[in-house]
Every structure is written in structure tokens, then in C-alpha cells.
Amino acid sequence: MSNDDNSSPHSQLSSHVFENLLDSIIVDIASECHRISILGLDCNLEGEEEELRLSAQARRRVADSSNSGETNSKHVVDIFGQTHPAIANEIFECMNCGRSIMAGRFAPHLEKCMGKGRKARLKSTRSSTTQNRHSRGNPVSVYAPYSNRAANGTADEYANGSLEES
């Protein structure tokens, strides 16, 4: 730019102005960073970099290893040396009706026992204020229940975790 053949006064002037602006921006940033550094406001930068590195490394390692550990964990032995059946088979008394219920089937029983649940509920509880949930500055979430989730099948399908969102 400085060795421009068209070194008319106009282009020289505009180059001059541009260089002034560029300089100003560079010194702005230098000044801010200098202040942050001297006042020690960025002291934790290394710690953060380390965390990022560890996470990236962990993801690579987990992707590489054949045993992800996430699947098929219902048949393992836990750290206390125990194994458990897929459906919890502890038996106890229902505190509502007094009957003996198996743990893994307690929730569906209780639902009917207490008269709650989809069949018992008379009206829909869908809330119309969903747009409020995603307003950025409002982390104090006001939750309304949503009931539009598809049926989960029989009581045997106990372990499915689904998300109640709509």
C-alpha cells in the first residue's frame, strides 16, 4: 500500500487515514490486553486450556476404545459385587393401599392406586406459555407439565427414560 504507483494526494491521504485507523484499533486491543494482564484478570487461562485439552483427549480415547461402557450395563457386577435383575424385585407394602408390590412395578401401581395418571386426569395440562421458556434472560424457569408424550407401552417397559417436554 505504501508503494502504490498511483501516489496521488487523494490516495495518499486515504492511505494515511486508513493507517491511522488501523493503528488506533491495534493500540486499543493492546491497551486492553495489557491492562487485563497486569491486573491479573486472566490468571486462570492456563487452567481453562488444560480442561479443554483433557476433554478433547477424553473424547478421543473413549471413541477409540471398543468398550464404551455405556451399553449393556444391566448385566454387570457392581462395585459391591452384586448383580441385579432388570426389573427390581424388592417387595414392599404400598403406602396408599397396603398391598405388597414389586419395586419395579411400583410406579404404575401407585398411579392407579392414587387415581392419578393419564386416564384419571380429566383435562389436558398443556401450557401455552412455551415461548417464555426460551427467553434468554429468564433462567428462573416456570415449568408447566406437558402431557403430550406418546404412550410408553406396558408396565414391563420400565427403564425407558423419556423427556417430558413440549
Binding site: 491497551s31 479443554l52 477424553a58 462395585i79 419395579g104 386426569r121 408396565a155 425407558n160
Partner: protein
């Protein structure tokens, strides 16, 4: 005041703000100028539209060469303006006493002899005050409250104490230590993994665990009390006659703690807890799967003991009182709030006149959005983005092309320009104007729960979907830059100043003299529990990873297994629980017998 006491005053200030000692030129300038050497500076400063302060000069040119606006410095001793590039500023600094100058464009102190930018608390205070007075603030500020201070005195055991401990204890055997206390599986009662995962995290939340294990809520005593009150006709007045009077979620939680730490390692069925919770949150009572975060909020609400002794108050009054208590007091209403309740600050600034309106809201968790755009994975690349009209340099939290928790928090506390359709009513302009909104954390809770909004609902298409994108999260987290004090400070260009958030009309000097005046509440946190969700929106599974004695354990309903920390780092997080570092105990790795 003598100059020696002002010199010691400056030393105190510099130490308090972690400043290195001044260069000899700055030091001699300060000592020659008495108590407040920069008192007159504020008359020379003006506020630029960008919010930055600069020197008010009609035509800034170099006195020696008449050169233009490049890096001009105004000598503090004689007000002569010189440019740097042609060496005129350095030449001017040759005369003794004229070494210190002010950068005309940036209102920064510069030592021309040392050729470096220097910093002084007194100067920064003058700049901040002049900037503030330039933005007229309407009267009617909130009543100023004296900041509650808790003095923390560190203590280490002396020789006598060590001897005492040595005599009364025996070393743990050479074989591997037993599994940590409190670790126990929870039976799935039928689609209740959402509940189990949150319960596992809470069982190992240090302040909560300590509270219940210290018998602070004895379920037998509480039950007797409730029975007595119920029998004596406590019901019958408005909302207090609800069924929930018989139910106490804290009692059921107490039972769970007792069971978890009993030493019995067979999986426990939290059946009575489910029963009580369904009575409390009757709208969520159904066999279908719930959202773990929704359960968490509902549960905290259940533990929260509403103020009962004054039954003449309406429910609205109760809510208002509680809200005020959480903002001004210590949130002592219940253990749930004492542990999880923090305060968020929201500043809305009018883009026309600069007037800022501030509101505070209590919160028990922080819900964060994942970043909206899909970015390609460029490892180690630095990008700058233009957003909201400002150029943002890539912060450390967005390196490696990953989405990160700190990146989400950066976005959470970033000033956001509200659209033209969301104009705010400005008190000063007395009309609706476009504004800038910025969130920050006024008070950090003991335990911070982060909730990642992985579920997108499209109201137009009436469908929901889950965002599976990986989010990086650190094991150690420093929240200081998200505090209101830091955000406020950076708004003023990171000036050295004690920004009193309660009362924005803070006067410099009073508190600055005492470095012990502002006790630093720790902003360092340690991760101790992660709730993850795997699978699809309507067919997924929650599990919790717990960090005990720096080992990670996977809690999948009744199955507790030991896992490598890599697995946790690589997991898809949904809720993360961080506790203040000073409450977090890292047991030593080896139990040595000596």
C-alpha cells in the same frame, strides 16, 4: 494529610487490587501530588459514545510537529500534547517530572520514560466517577444495605492437635479402601430414572448431605409435630388445609440419606419419596417419564418450608416475603435455598441516554442454551465473530471447535441488543427505546446447578427435538468473570475500582482504604455430579456420574460401577452440579499405613 500516609494508602490500594508496585517515575509523581493527585482529571475527561473515556481536547495535535491523531500523550505535569511515533513524547519525558502522560484517546496512564502503560487506582477511580456522572442517574436508588460480611479465618492444626489426632486414630489398612460412604444404588420403580439420577446427585451434595447427616431435619420429630398439628385442627384455613400438610418431602429425603449412609449396599427403593412427591406435585404425578430438571425444581420447592407461623398472610404475601428474603437475606428459609439459591442481576441499558435499570432475581439453578450455530471442528483455530455489532474475539472457551460450558456462560452474560420489537421503557427518556440487556451473577450459591437446554420446541411446527451436541465442561470452574462485579468492571474498561453493586452511587475512597473490607466469596467451584441423558427425546435414559474421593462412579439406577474420568468428560451432560471449592474435600489418593 501528610504525603507519607497517602503513599501508604496507595500501597494498600495497589496490593489490594493485585497491582505491581509503580515504576519510579509514577511513584515520584504520586508522592509529589498529595492525597488525590488525579482529583482534577475528571474535568478533562469526556465519555465517548462507545462508552470509553478519553481526554477532552478540542483539536488533538502534537505540540512539536502538529501531527495528527496517532498515539497522542498529554503530559500530566504541563499538559503538553506530544505524539509518540515521531519520538516527541519520549523527548518531552526527558525533562524531570514530565515522564507521566495520559493517552488522549484511551485515558490510560503512560510512562514515557519506561515506555509502558502504567496503572493507578486513584486515576482509575477518577475516570470511573467522571464516566458515571456523565450518565445522569435518576434518584430513587434502592435502599443501600450494608454488605453482610462473614469473616473467614484460616486455621491449621498445631503440634498439640496433631498429637491428639495421632493418638486417637489408627491408620487404614494396606488393602484398597472400601467404597465411599453413601454410595448405594436406587431401584427403578417404573420409569423413575429421572428421579433416581437427581436423588443420587443430591445425596452427595456436600452441604445438603451434611445437613441431613447432622440430624438437622429429624423425620421422627417432624412427623410427631405434624401429627399433633394435624390433629389439633391445623387444617381448615384456605390453602393450608391441603393434603400436603401431612406430607413432608424433607422427612422422606432424611430417610433416603439414612438409607444411603447406613452401610447397607443393596439397592434402595425410594418408594415413600415418590409417593410424597406425587402428592406434592400432583400435576406431575404419572407413570410416564418426567424431565429430570423439572423434577429437581419441583423437589426443591417441596423441601422449601413455607413460612407457616403467620397464617393470616395470603399465599401471595408469602411468595413476596420469600422473594424478598432470598434477595436481601441469606435465603435462610430452608436448606434447599441455603444451598442452591443464588441471585441473578439483569441490567437493561437505554441505547439513547445510557441510563441503566437494574433488577435482581433469585434463582436455584442456571439454565443455558447451547450455541445455535453448528460450527465446523477446526482444532486450535482462533476466529473472531461479529455479533450484536461488536467484534468478539474467540474466547478460550470456544477453542477446539467444541461447544463449552464457559462458552454458554459467556453468551449468557454477554450484552444482548434487544430487538426493535422489544423496546424498553426508559425512565430517563420517558419513552420506549431500544436497549441493551446484560445478565450477570450477583451472588453465587453454595452449589450451582447448570441445566443445559437440550430440548428445542418449535411452536410453529409443533414438535420437539433433542439436541445431542457434545458440550465440554470443566472439572474445576472459576465463575469470577460472570459475577456482577466483574461484568460491571469490564463495562468500565476493567478500571481499578471497587464497584459496589448494591448502590451504584459508590463513592471511591471510603472502602478502598481497607483491603479487608471486601471479603472475597470464593468463585472457584468443583464438579461433583453430572446427570446425563442418552437416547431420544421420548425414549431415553438418565444416569448420574458421581465424583467421590476424586474417583468417578456411574449410578445407573441400581447399578453402581467405577468408571474412568475420561468417560465422564466425554459424556453428554444434561445437569452439572458444582460446589464451592472451599466446601469440597479432595481426600488424599493413598491411605498409607505409617
Amino acid at each position: 494529610m501528610s504525603s507519607t500516609s497517602s503513599a501508604s494508602n496507595h500501597r494498600l490500594l495497589r496490593r489490594h487490587h493485585h497491582l505491581p508496585p509503580p515504576c519510579p517515575h509514577l511513584a515520584s509523581y504520586l508522592s509529589s501530588r498529595g492525597l488525590r493527585p488525579f482529583r482534577a482529571i475528571h474535568r478533562l475527561l469526556r465519555l465517548r459514545p462507545s462508552g470509553r473515556a478519553s481526554l477532552r481536547l478540542d483539536v488533538p495535535t502534537c505540540a512539536s510537529c502538529g501531527g495528527g491523531s496517532r498515539r497522542l500523550y498529554a503530559c500530566l505535569a504541563c499538559a503538553a500534547v506530544s505524539c509518540w511515533d515521531s519520538g516527541h513524547a519520549a523527548a518531552h519525558a526527558g525533562s524531570p517530572g514530565h515522564e507521566i502522560a495520559v493517552d488522549v484517546d484511551r485515558a490510560e496512564l503512560f510512562c514515557c520514560a519506561c515506555r509502558d502503560q502504567v496503572y493507578d487506582p486513584g486515576f482509575d477511580a477518577a475516570v470511573v466517577l467522571s464516566v458515571r456522572s456523565a450518565v445522569a442517574v435518576s434518584s430513587g436508588s434502592a435502599p443501600s444495605k450494608k454488605r453482610r460480611q462473614v469473616e473467614y479465618r484460616p486455621w491449621t492444626p498445631g503440634t498439640k492437635e496433631r498429637a491428639l489426632v495421632g493418638e486417637g486414630s489408627s491408620p487404614i489398612g494396606p488393602h484398597s479402601p472400601p467404597p465411599p460412604a453413601g454410595l448405594r444404588g436406587l431401584n427403578n420403580l417404573g420409569n423413575t430414572c429421572f428421579m433416581n439420577s437427581v436423588l443420587q446427585a443430591l445425596i452427595h451434595t456436600p452441604p445438603l448431605r451434611n445437613y441431613f447427616l447432622s440430624d438437622r431435619h429429624n423425620r421422627f420429630v417432624c412427623q410427631r409435630r405434624r401429627m399433633k398439628r394435624y390433629k389439633s385442627g391445623g387444617g381448615g384455613r384456605g390453602d393450608n388445609s391441603r393434603n400436603e400438610k401431612k406430607v413432608c418431602l424433607a422427612c422422606d429425603l432424611d430417610a433416603i440419606f439414612s438409607a444411603a449412609f447406613s452401610g447397607d449396599r443393596t439397592p434402595y427403593s425410594p418408594a415413600s419419596f415418590l409417593y410424597s412427591w406425587w402428592q406434592h406435585a400432583s400435576n406431575l404425578a404419572s407413570y410416564e417419564q418426567q424431565d429430570a430438571h423439572e423434577f429437581f425444581i419441583s423437589m426443591l420447592d417441596g423441601i422449601h418450608e413455607k413460612v407457616e407461623h403467620d397464617q393470616s398472610k395470603t399465599q401471595d404475601q408469602d411468595l413476596y416475603n420469600n422473594h424478598t428474603n432470598l434477595l436481601t437475606g441469606k435465603g435462610d428459609c430452608c436448606i434447599a435455598h441455603r444451598v442452591f439459591s443464588g441471585i441473578l442481576r439483569s441490567d437493561v441499558t437505554c441505547t439513547v441516554c445510557g441510563y441503566t435499570s437494574t433488577t435482581y432475581d433469585p434463582c436455584v439453578d442456571i439454565s443455558l442454551d447451547l450455541d445455535p450455530s453448528h460450527r465446523s471442528t477446526k482444532t486450535g483455530s482462533m476466529k473472531s465473530r461479529v455479533s450484536n455489532g461488536e467484534v468478539e474475539s474467540m474466547m478460550a472457551g470456544q477453542n477446539h471447535g467444541m461447544s463449552t460450558l464457559m462458552g454458554c456462560l459467556d453468551r449468557f452474560t454477554r450484552p444482548e441488543r434487544l430487538g426493535a420489537d422489544q423496546k424498553f421503557f426508559c425512565q430517563q427518556c420517558q419513552e420506549k427505546q431500544e436497549s441493551l440487556k446484560q445478565m450477570s451473577i450477583r451472588k453465587l450459591p453454595l452449589v450451582t446447578c447448570f441445566h443445559i437446554k437440550r430440548f428445542e420446541h418449535s411452536s410453529t411446527r409443533n414438535m420437539s427435538r433433542k439436541v445431542d451436541r457434545y458440550l465440554q465442561f470443566p472439572f474445576s470452574l472459576d465463575m469470577s468473570r460472570y459475577l456482577s462485579s466483574s461484568v460491571l468492571r469490564s463495562r468500565y474498561g476493567n478500571r481499578i475500582f471497587s464497584f459496589d453493586e448494591e448502590n451504584d452511587d459508590h463513592v471511591a475512597g471510603a472502602d478502598d482504604d481497607d483491603p479487608n473490607a471486601s471479603v472475597e466469596i470464593s468463585s472457584e467451584f468443583e464438579l461433583f455430579a453430572v446427570v446425563t441423558h442418552t437416547g431420544k427425546l421420548d425414549a431415553g435414559h438418565y444416569i448420574t456420574y458421581l465424583r467421590l474421593n476424586n474417583q468417578w462412579y456411574r449410578c445407573d439406577d441400581a447399578w453402581i460401577t467405577h468408571v474412568n474420568e475420561d468417560l465422564v468428560r466425554a459424556a453428554q451432560c444434561y445437569m452439572m452440579f458444582y460446589v464451592q471449592k472451599m466446601l469440597y474435600y479432595k481426600a488424599s489418593e493413598s491411605a498409607s499405613a505409617s
